[in-house]
Symmetry: none
Subunit: 216 residues, 2 copies
DNA sequence: AATCGTATGGGTAGAAGTACCTAGGAGAAG
DNA sequence: CTTCTCCTAGGTACTTCTACCCATACGATT
């Protein structure tokens, strides 16, 4: 393993690539590799295992999302940072879902890029401050969609107790012990909950319980 | 209602207050009022209904948290921004719970303060980028820091891919289909992950996957 | 009194996950 | 070339969960 770390930058404008390279190469022990499209970027990531990939979203052949998705699917050990002009909430949310570690707006750039690289290198996240607003909203939407789950009010007290314990990953036997009831009773409560909420299939109840435990 | 908007700044160091005043008064139609402790700040907020209150956390009499809490309790129509040196996760989380709209680190300051005021004035949130990391982790309901899970680095790319899909509640069969491999291979990957991480029993892997998916 | 909802317990069947094996091929490292 | 890791796939036994079925007991409502 080399002492030097590699950072891949991908943007279809040569001028931006050169500018980025100049800034990033001020960092110690850092080697920069350039790609002018998503295809090349993905190839560089596969072959040179960089620690960080700085991707423009709009690129020829494969765009930033495509590259990030492939990186995710293949489990490549690289932290992806998006460097983009898009400050739409949907774009940002899609980026977070794709597992990007950094999201930097081009309008800020330069100093932010360095801060972002530093943060991501430590395993942290870095977001341009003007889009942190999206994350707060994203957060509160997940934790309090009170009006969405009117179904929760259909549950009886015993069912709520079971659901809370389901959310904490306990097995049915553990739940039965904790509530001092039979495991069969736990089964029945689970089934009734699923009926009321229209849940089907493996892990459906567990998923629901975890997502809504805050409202119990 | 006055055309001019009022902004209250509170800090126990006169020098910092003067510096902030100078920066903020470059904004149009803006009047600045100063407080040297939390008590005064709260009084100014009650009497002059400012749109924004820029609070230091460490202050005499009432600290920033105390003021923010009172503002919340009394339903005062002011957006609270914390300007602080604390970049501990607990402090930030407590701030978010208290309903602050902005969280700016003093080490960045100046330009950030103006951006923050602009964002909060539009009803948005603004966080110093280096602490946006906390929010992401907060979002995924994770309190354990990254260095706790050194075990994660033991995982191979294929194992990471499986773990990510486990975290999204997919069944082994769904994971196998998505990765185009046999369900038996998925079983093996799961077992290897459990071996490496010392996980035992029902749901142990699922629980771990959900809690640590943000670090994949 | 009859009905309804709720909580409790049980049975059975099948699907899914867990645990612990073996084993061949690809590729990297010695 | 040998050794090692990783990915792949299969076998077997067991546990846990899911989806149906059923019944009894209690309290409140009608």
């Amino acid at each position: 393993m080399n002492e030097r770390r590699t950072i891949v930058i991908a943007d279809d404008f040569p001028l931006i690539r050169k500018g980025l390279r100049q800034v990033i190469e001020t960092l110690p022990e850092t080697e920069v590799m350039e790609a002018e499209n998503g295809d090349d970027a993905l190839r560089l990531i596969r072959e040179h295992h960089p620690v960080i990939a700085l991707l423009d979203i709009e690129m020829p052949k494969l765009n930033g999302f495509d590259v990030a998705k492939r990186v995710n699917d293949e489990g490549l050990p690289v932290s992806v940072i998006f460097l983009t002009m898009y400050k739409e909430e949907q774009v940002f949310n899609k980026a977070m879902d794709t597992g990007v570690k950094g999201y930097v707006l081009k309008e800020n750039a330069i100093t932010e890029v360095l801060q972002c690289i530093a943060a991501v290198s430590e395993g942290k996240y870095y977001l341009s401050p003007t889009i942190s607003d999206f994350l707060v909203r994203r957060n509160s939407r997940l934790s309090s969609p009170a009006q969405d789950n009117i179904g929760l009010s259909l549950l009886t007290p015993a069912e709520r107790s079971v659901l809370k314990l389901v959310a904490s990953m306990k097995t049915n036997q553990q739940i039965a012990d904790e509530l001092t009831i039979s495991i069969k009773t736990v089964h029945n409560h689970r089934n009734h909950i699923c009926d009321k909420l229209g849940l089907r299939g493996a892990h459906a109840l567990l998923k629901f319980a975890i997502e809504n435990v805050s409202q119990l």
